[in-house]
């Protein structure tokens, strides 16, 4: 099921909720249900019933003792999440783009994000979700980090699935005779598509008119190419910064 029409009769809602909890639905339908859960009481109640009925059978999976370091990672992320909360509290009242710009400029937050990776991004997503609804709020966020995840270099902010802005968060020295080229690839595309050459330190607004709408988990990367850009229809140089789109 990947259409957007949700069943209205109780039996169908129950069956859909059952398949959601079992896990057999495709990602689009899963996302659709997850978006509707907060508003649709009948669907939510059906999901909660199936969760309750089936939960005892999670015991069919053998327990696995987590490695000692795992709790440390969780605690580390929580510590940074608290710092993020402080950042949020200092920015009152929240004012949309300004609020986000302040986040972009907060170096300690970016260092935290670089360390925390996905979890950090989840945190930011949650914070953004706490803002009052604003019509022009960005719908996707991508943090482009060095492949070793040690430093965040750029952020992609998407105000719609067709309009993105590439914003530098730190300096980057392009060696002589080289240039940065910006690429993107969604999960089901055959290969990456060039979004053009990028000047370090400059924000760039890009329209994705000729591409499918931006989607969750879509890959973005900046590669170091010879001046003039990659001679082929795919990257030929090393990846400098890379990240995936997170829906906000």
């Amino acid at each position: 099921m990947s259409d957007n029409t949700m069943p209205r009769n109780a039996g169908d809602i129950d069956a859909l909720a059952g398949e959601y909890v079992l896990g057999t639905l495709d990602i689009e339908t899963r996302r659709d249900i997850e978006q509707r859960l907060p508003e649709e009481g009948a669907l939510r109640a059906a999901v909660e019933r199936w969760e309750k009925r089936l939960q005892p059978y999670t015991r069919l999976a053998e327990p696995i003792e987590p490695p000692a370091a795992l709790w440390g990672r969780i605690e580390h992320t929580l510590a940074h999440a608290s710092q993020d909360a402080v950042v949020r509290d200092t920015l009152s009242p929240p004012t949309g783009p300004t609020w986000l710009q302040a986040l972009w400029q907060n170096l300690s937050l970016w260092r935290g994000l670089a360390v925390c990776g996905l979890a950090g991004m989840l945190t930011l997503g949650t914070l953004t979700a706490l803002k009052p609804a604003q019509p022009a709020a960005p719908r996707f966020l991508v943090v482009l980090m060095t492949p070793q995840h040690s430093q965040a270099g750029w952020v992609v902010q998407a105000s719609s699935p067709r309009d993105i802005e590439l914003i530098p968060t730190g300096g980057f020295e392009v060696p002589p005779g080289k240039t940065l080229e910006f690429w993107t690839k969604a999960d089901d595309w055959g290969g990456p598509v060039s979004l053009g050459l990028i000047e370090p330190g400059e924000s760039r607004h890009l329209s994705l008119e000729h591409l499918p709408p931006l989607e969750e988990n879509q890959l973005f990367e900046l590669t170091l190419e010879d001046a003039g850009g990659s001679p082929l229809d795919h990257p030929t140089g090393p990846i400098q910064f890379i990240g995936r789109a997170v829906a906000l």
Partner: protein, 184 residues
Amino acid sequence: MAAETDHNTLLMACADGDHQALRAIYTLEGARLLGVVQRIVGDRATAEDLIHDAFVKIWQMAHTFDRERGSGKTWIFSIARHLALNHVRRRHREVTVDDETAERLEATNALAAAAEASDHFDWLGKGELDRCLAELDAERRNCLFHAYVDGYTHQEIATRLERPLGTVKAWIKRSLTALHECLT
């Protein structure tokens, strides 16, 4: 095993900002959650990343937990399971089984060939749904548990059970209806 009330109380303490409460949930359920997630994603490093994300989410969402609407334990397991399911469904958007999975499933099939049409899961004695599950054929129960425990897609179940895709889809749908009717 801790009583239900413990999980509820711990979640409320998390909502109040008590790190030790989250630590207590981790101590109580970490191993079982990792087992559940590992079974779905099949890769240890990924499973550990997802458990990390699940506990961060439990921490951040604890204030939304409503004990009137269900148990804390169920809520905690749901968060971890759905993160794992979204992860594998996002990775394998295509309906077809990739070669590696097909190979793995074929090997499992060869081992299990003699046991076909018998139960693949030791499901009895786990929960209140037992009575209704007992009314289904073993093969239909296998469909449900390969989905719920292994995180298999319809296609993966069809390959595993050597049944047509349409049959598996219909079986699951009808089994859910039968379970629902049995319970009401």
